[in-house]
């Protein structure tokens, strides 16, 4: 059986990142958009942790923790806004949120 190395982690991270990107671009539901962003962040976290382990330097893993903490607070704020929006407009569809046209 093949040993799992750094490259495998990086490939996984890239795949997850691409899925996240596609999600960000394609999803019309604001909630789904949050999920996609979470995927993006965690793809990066995987890369951080893997590279940190590879070099034996803890800085990367520490950074991953920061990302998780910030992501949590961001989601909390985001969900709060989302609920307010839903109460006002009755939907969370991106197509209806176009008041800032150029």
């Amino acid at each position: 059986m093949m040993e799992i190395g750094l490259n495998h982690y990086l490939v996984l991270s890239t795949i997850l990142f691409s899925i996240g990107l596609v999600g960000v671009m394609r999803r019309k539901n604001l909630l789904m958009l949050f999920f996609a962003t979470e995927i993006l962040l965690n793809a990066v976290n995987i890369a951080f942790a893997a590279i940190s382990h590879f070099y034996g330097d803890l800085t990367g893993q520490m950074f991953a923790f920061f990302v998780i903490a910030i992501a949590a607070s961001e989601v909390a704020v985001g969900l709060g806004l989302l609920i307010v929006w839903h109460k006002r407009h009755g939907n969370i569809d991106l197509e209806h949120m176009s008041t800032m046209r150029g």
Partner: protein
């Protein structure tokens, strides 16, 4: 002595500043009195310097401070009072003191009284810088300063279209000539490595004759502009738009003689290039005749005197061109006195006649304007060169010089011009003061000028009479720095024939002028008489059509060319490129605003696209850096550097 130098130089500046303080406020007598007093102080200081030089004292040479010092270029603010500059200082301070006092009376009713004195004193300061500087750069500063003040004073009544036009004409013409002067200065610096008079002139004999010729020519072009020599002469007659004291001070006595001063000052240069000197003399003789002929038929009192000035400047250039520098300077001095007097007299007449300038509308003014009549007659006699007044000594000397130097053509031209001079001067005097009182139909009651004005003019009257007696003292003084050639006709017989002949000729011309214009029934030119329809009369009347030709062949094509440049180059190239850049931003903005659809999804897509673009750029750059050696190899293989 240094102290007196600084007093003489800077008190007009202080006076100018003082008057300028009041420039925007209504007439304040003190703004006229203080500058006049300070000029008198300057005059006294100049006199002390003159006495010092006359009694054998040293030349005063000071270096006030460094102006420019870069590399090999060293130009100080240095001033020198030698025999030549002290003469000029005396002329400038005497005439300007008189003119300042005169102006207090003359400008009495002008609402810009204070501004007038600010300009006038500033002019005197610039003129003193011009004559006292010990280097060409300082001379040039003064040269430009007097040009500026002349502009401000010609256009003093700026609400008059003609005055502003004349001011601009004078300024632009002088700028054209100053370009020549500046090239001359560059040549001097280039070839001698200095602009100090003494060092530059000491280095000149070692230079190639062609270089010296070009230097002489370009410096003389500057002199031609300032002294209004042909073909840059048109501005002087138009400059008569300014107030009359200005005409007396700037456009007769001092500024226009700066060109003569330059040639006199640069005498070591012109000594080396006699062919340029001959050209200067020929041009001078031509201008003397040319200007005198225009004065014959003119109907504008001030213009007649202006043409006379032009003609006398021609005489001075003849003397300077033939190497008789001291004679040129002597005539400059004598001319300054009687011409300023003539102009100031004309100012009195203008005041009495409510600014009327046409002598054909005057006549018989000798009773109401008795003193002015005497002064103008004396000034005209001096101008005509009758013994024993100033003009006789200075002008006849120029005639003698040209004869002794064997330039018979120049001599005969000058002799003929002397007759013309006498004729037009007395034509003017006869028309103004004698004959019928033609002004009565205009309902004018002439009155003599203020007493203090007449008293202020009296020093000039005195000098116009006695200036000739200073000849030998003056000769001994200036020949310390100028070539001391004494001009004596070889035989005594010849001398008497010449002198008496000239005198008779001039007297005849005067008698003719009186006969023609002093009687009661003169023909007022109205375009009907036979003489006025002659071709030569028309040519003279229209100033040889030169102003017309300048307008047609220089001004109009220039204006059309400017029009073309404006429409085709400025609008289509300069403006178009500037507008084009702005339009690119406008249109990109217009097109890219559709990106801002407000749809979050679309914006996110753009964001992703941007990220991808930046990432790929980073990758390409990284690769390029990594494989730079190989890329260079391929490029050099393709023949690119």
């Amino acid at each position: 002595m240094e102290l007196y130098l600084y007093i003489a130089l800077f008190s007009p500046l202080v006076g100018s500043m003082f008057a300028a303080l009041f420039a925007a406020s209504p007439k304040t007598s003190i703004a006229g009195i203080v500058p006049s007093f300070l000029l008198f102080v300057s005059f006294v200081a100049s006199t002390i310097l003159l006495v010092n030089i006359l009694s054998g004292g040293d030349v005063v040479h000071v270096e006030m401070m460094t102006w420019m010092a870069t590399g090999n270029l060293y130009i100080p603010f240095g001033f020198v009072v030698d025999q030549v500059s002290v003469t000029m200082m005396m002329v400038v301070t005497v005439v300007s003191t008189v003119v300042h006092v005169y102006s207090i009376g003359y400008m009495d009713h002008d609402k810009s009284f204070n501004r007038f004195f600010a300009w006038l004193s500033a002019f005197v300061f610039s003129m003193l810088v011009l004559v006292m500087s010990d280097n060409f750069a300082g001379l040039f500063i003064g040269w430009e300063g007097v040009g500026l003040c002349s502009w401000g004073l010609i256009g003093f009544w700026y609400h008059k279209e003609s005055a502003t036009w004349a001011a601009n004409e004078a300024f632009i013409m002088n700028r054209i000539a100053d370009l020549g002067m500046l090239i001359g200065l560059f040549l001097v610096y280039w070839n001698t490595g200095t602009l100090q008079y003494d060092e530059a002139f000491a280095a000149m004999p070692a230079l190639a004759p062609e270089v010296l010729t070009w230097m002489g020519i370009f410096l003389f072009i500057g002199a031609m502009g300032k002294s209004a020599q042909f073909p840059l002469h048109t501005w002087l007659a138009d400059a008569m738009e300014g107030p009359t004291p200005v005409s007396a001070l700037i456009h007769a006595a001092t500024m226009v003689t700066a060109g003569v001063y330059l040639v006199v000052r640069a005498n070591p240069l012109y000594e080396l290039i006699p062919h340029v000197g001959l050209f200067i003399a020929s041009l001078g003789a031509f201008v003397a005749l040319f200007a005198a002929s225009m004065a014959l038929v003119n109907r504008d009192m001030k213009r007649i005197i202006a043409y006379s000035t032009l003609s006398q400047l021609g005489y001075m250039f003849v003397a300077a061109g033939l190497g008789a520098y001291w004679v040129a300077l002597f005539h400059l001095m004598a001319h300054a006195f009687f011409k300023a007097l003539l102009f100031l007299g004309a100012g009195n007449v203008m005041h009495a006649m409510h600014d009327e300038l046409d002598p054909f509308k005057m006549g018989g003014l000798k009773k109401p304007l008795k003193w002015t009549f005497i002064m103008m007659t004396v000034a005209s006699v001096a101008l005509a060169g009758i013994y024993p007044l100033a003009g006789f000594f200075s002008k006849d000397l120029i005639l003698e010089v040209s004869l002794i130097e064997h330039h018979y053509i120049i001599y005969s031209v000058l002799l003929f011009t002397a007759g013309l001079t006498a004729f037009y001067s007395f034509r003017l005097v006869a028309l103004i003061f004698h004959g019928e009182e033609r002004y009565k139909i205009f309902g004018i009651h002439p009155h003599e000028a203020y007493k203090f004005v007449l008293i202020a003019m009296s020093p000039l009257l005195l000098l116009a009479v006695i200036a000739g007696s200073f000849k030998m003292t003056y000769f001994e003084m200036v020949t310390a720095v100028l070539p001391a050639t004494e001009y004596h006709v070889h035989s005594v017989m010849m001398y008497w024939i010449m002198t008496i002949g000239t005198q008779l000729f001039v007297l005849l011309a005067i008698a003719f002028a009186y006969k023609k214009y002093a009687n009661n029934a003169i023909a007022i030119p109205d375009g009907s008489s036979k003489m006025e329809n002659r071709l030569c009369y028309k040519i003279l009347k229209n100033q040889y059509y030169i102003p017309y030709a300048y307008e047609e062949y220089f001004v109009k094509p220039y204006r059309e060319l400017s029009d073309v440049f404006w429409k085709h180059i400025d609008m289509k190239i300069v403006d178009a490129s500037v507008d084009g850049i702005a339009n690119i931003f406008y249109s990109t903005g217009e097109k890219t605003r559709t990106m801002q659809s407000g749809n979050l999804s679309t914006m996110l897509k753009w964001m992703v696209a941007g990220t991808v673009a930046l990432l790929s750029l980073a990758v390409v750059y990284g690769l390029a850096v990594r494989y730079s050696d190989e890329i260079m190899l391929i490029l050099s293989g393709l023949g690119v550097q």
